[in-house]
């Protein structure tokens, strides 16, 4: 987000107006006024500055310190243990497993989500009448609370009685045990999140509508096929939006928690498949089921660094792949 928004940020704070120098007294008055304006400005942004200090600066530093301690919640004492928590993480096979699950999920969910969103947006973009109706229908799942989505899909995805497998059986396909069979656990969650794909779709639709029509007209005069137009005009012209979605959706996917928790980890009844143990879920268990805050803080920092590195790599790649209007010849 920060990267795509950077040009706007630079543009927004425009150059100071040249101070009209009409002798000393005016100059001093100006500086008094400027100082008063600056003070008022700080007063206005004070709520955010305070919140940033408390819930980001203090919070992150506290988390860093915590990760080197053994925190006792009942007595509020932290006993320093050095790198013990990080050593435990390195030795815990579940950490590696949950990270693997998380990466696998992100690699499956992010491209699929963007592809489906782009397909739906392209379909909608060519519709004259009824586009508003379809967009509303596609957006309804996005308004549905995750917990309701989970309670619906828990039954729709049921391997024996679920509607999804009944639908597949119309075509003679024997559907899998979605929520039980480990290889199908992650696809189940992906299906659930695809239902709420409208957020990305609306963003892509807006981008598609910003592509100049002349480009398509020129291309079709030159005899370019629809498919060729899509890959040579549409995709490059919306690449900055696609890139934005890749980054934002990746960050979200790496923190996946709600759906996995609601479908598989509400209770410890033995139906908690390892395949759904994502890093976010494991972190939650360490923090709020075992109350091992030191270990959880170390996990949080590990996740932060991982997200930072992955986003950094994506930004580097994006620099080469993304077309920003006006930035290149």
């Amino acid at each position: 987000m920060a990267v795509t928004a950077a040009p706007t940020a630079a543009a927004g704070t425009s150059a100071e107006p040249p101070a009209t120098r009409v002798g000393r007294p005016a100059g001093r008055r100006r500086s008094v006024a400027a100082r008063r304006e600056a003070l008022a400005g700080y007063a206005f942004i004070l709520p955010w500055v305070a919140g940033f200090l408390i819930f980001t600066v203090v919070s992150m530093s506290w988390s860093a310190v915590l990760s080197f301690t053994n925190y006792d919640l009942s007595t509020n004492t932290a006993e320093p243990v050095g790198f013990e928590n990080y050593r435990l993480l390195a030795e815990d096979p579940k950490v590696l497993m949950s990270l693997g699950n998380t990466f696998f999920y992100a690699l499956l969910a992010v491209p699929l989500e963007i592809a489906v969103a782009l397909a739906l947006a392209s379909l909608l973009n060519g519709v004259r009448r009824g586009a508003g109706f379809f967009r509303t229908v596609f957006y309804l799942p996005k308004m549905t609370p995750t917990v309701a989505t989970a309670s619906i899909f828990l039954l729709l995805l049921n391997g024996n009685t679920g509607a999804i497998n009944s639908f597949l059986s119309w075509f003679g396909i024997q559907g899998p045990q979605w929520l039980v069979d480990p290889p199908w656990v992650k696809p189940s969650i992906v299906i659930m999140s695809l239902w709420g794909v409208a957020g990305s779709m609306v963003i892509l639709l807006a981008a598609l509508q910003n592509v100049p029509r002349e480009l398509y007209e020129a291309a079709s005069v030159d005899g370019a096929s629809k498919l060729r137009q899509f890959f040579s005009i549409t995709v490059p012209m919306i690449s900055s939006t696609l890139f934005f979605l890749v980054i934002v959706n990746t960050i979200a996917a790496l923190q996946v928690f709600d759906q996995a928790y609601l479908l598989f980890f509400r209770d410890n009844n033995g139906n908690n498949p390892d395949a759904a143990l994502f890093f976010g879920v494991y972190l939650y268990q360490a923090a709020f089921q075992q109350f091992n805050f030191g270990l959880a803080a170390a996990m949080a920092w590990l996740l932060f660094v991982i997200i930072l590195v992955i986003t950094g790599i994506q930004l580097k790649l994006g620099d080469r792949l993304v077309y920003y209007e006006g930035s290149r010849q």
Binding site: G12, E16, A38, N125, P141, M143, P145, I152, A297
Partner: protein, 315 residues
């Protein structure tokens, strides 16, 4: 006075967000293809859209049907229930403390949405209008903070609320909104930047205070953006699951919000946890938690679509 900088045209405002009431423009059809072929293409497109729309609507229709079924038939996947049990909607109030959950959810969502709209718009005006040292740096920090994964500050934030003595109350669920939210601040700043600066300068000369500029000019003019922020936050708070799970899970069920309550009901009604499998009540509660969001969307669709679309148009 002539050298006053005219406010930067914000890309957000200029980039013409999708409007619900504006017909979607069709790219010009290729002049070479025949009319019949084009009509076939249009029909195929509509059929595809209708199929996807049916798939997207099905789970909601399924939920409505399931909420009206007796215990044994919840799983039968009929969209028209064999036996319609309207009493589900009466009995659910006895089966679950749903009224308390709804009251909690409404209170928290209203507090969050109101507070975050006020605080974010005040901060946004600070970044949009005033000139002060380190403004670019601070705004850069704000943008960077949007990238911060929420999972990272979960544990320390819990400890902060604990040390402030707010554990066991619902303050942690809305208290943070007092300080504004980076994305909303960014969004509203764009709107304030599109207000011509001369307007503010003129009001200043007429003796308007700085807060007056905000209250009398900026905020009223940017009211649509405030509506977007309010609706977004109301939805986010209403749907929020993690925060209630962490901060309310250890209290009595009466303190839960609706989403946490539904998760609790899913577990307690489950036969593996000693329940009787009364999932029809879970379905009623799921429908009741969804309905207000659908109503809000019906009235505020334009704002939701605009707000979401503008998020992607910044680049």
């Amino acid at each position: 006075m002539s050298t006053l900088p005219v406010s930067q045209p914000s890309r957000l405002a200029v980039a013409a967000p999708v409007r619900a009431d504006r017909p979607i423009v069709v790219p010009a059809p290729a002049p070479t293809s025949g009319g019949a072929l084009r009509r076939v293409g249009r029909i195929v497109r509509l059929l595809l859209l209708a199929g996807v729309a049916a798939a997207f609507l099905y789970p909601l229709a399924w939920l409505l049907a399931a909420s009206l079924k007796p215990r044994g038939e919840v799983f039968d996947n009929r969209l028209i229930p064999q036996t319609v049990v309207w009493e589900n909607y009466v009995q659910v109030w006895d089966q679950l403390p749903l009224l308390a959950w709804i009251a909690n959810s409404i209170g928290i969502a209203l507090a969050s949405a109101t507070l975050v709209t006020l605080s974010s718009s005040i901060v946004a005006f600070g970044f949009a209008y005033f000139r002060f040292p380190a403004k670019n740096f601070l705004f850069g920090l704000l943008l960077a903070s949007m990238m911060l994964p929420g999972a990272v500050t979960l544990v320390p934030n819990y400890l902060i609320w604990k040390s402030l003595g707010f554990l066991g109350t619902n303050v942690p669920l809305w208290g943070g909104t007092l300080f504004g939210s980076a994305f909303y601040i960014f969004l509203m700043r764009q709107f304030y930047l599109s207000v011509p600066r001369e307007l503010f300068e003129a009001a200043r000369i007429d003796g308007c205070s700085y807060f007056g500029l905000f209250r009398r000019i900026a905020f009223p003019l940017a009211l649509p953006s405030a509506v977007i922020v309010f609706l977004f936050e109301f939805q986010a708070s209403w749907n929020n699951f993690v925060a209630p799970l962490i901060y309310l899970n250890f209290g009595t069920p009466e303190q839960y919000t609706v989403p946490l309550g539904i998760a609790y009901a899913m577990t307690t009604f489950s036969p593996t946890a000693g329940g009787h499998g009364d999932y029809q009540y879970v379905m009623v509660a799921s429908l009741l938690v969804t309905l207000p969001m659908l109503v809000i969307f019906a009235f505020g669709q334009r704002y939701f679509i605009e707000g979401i679309a503008s998020a992607g148009l910044k680049g």
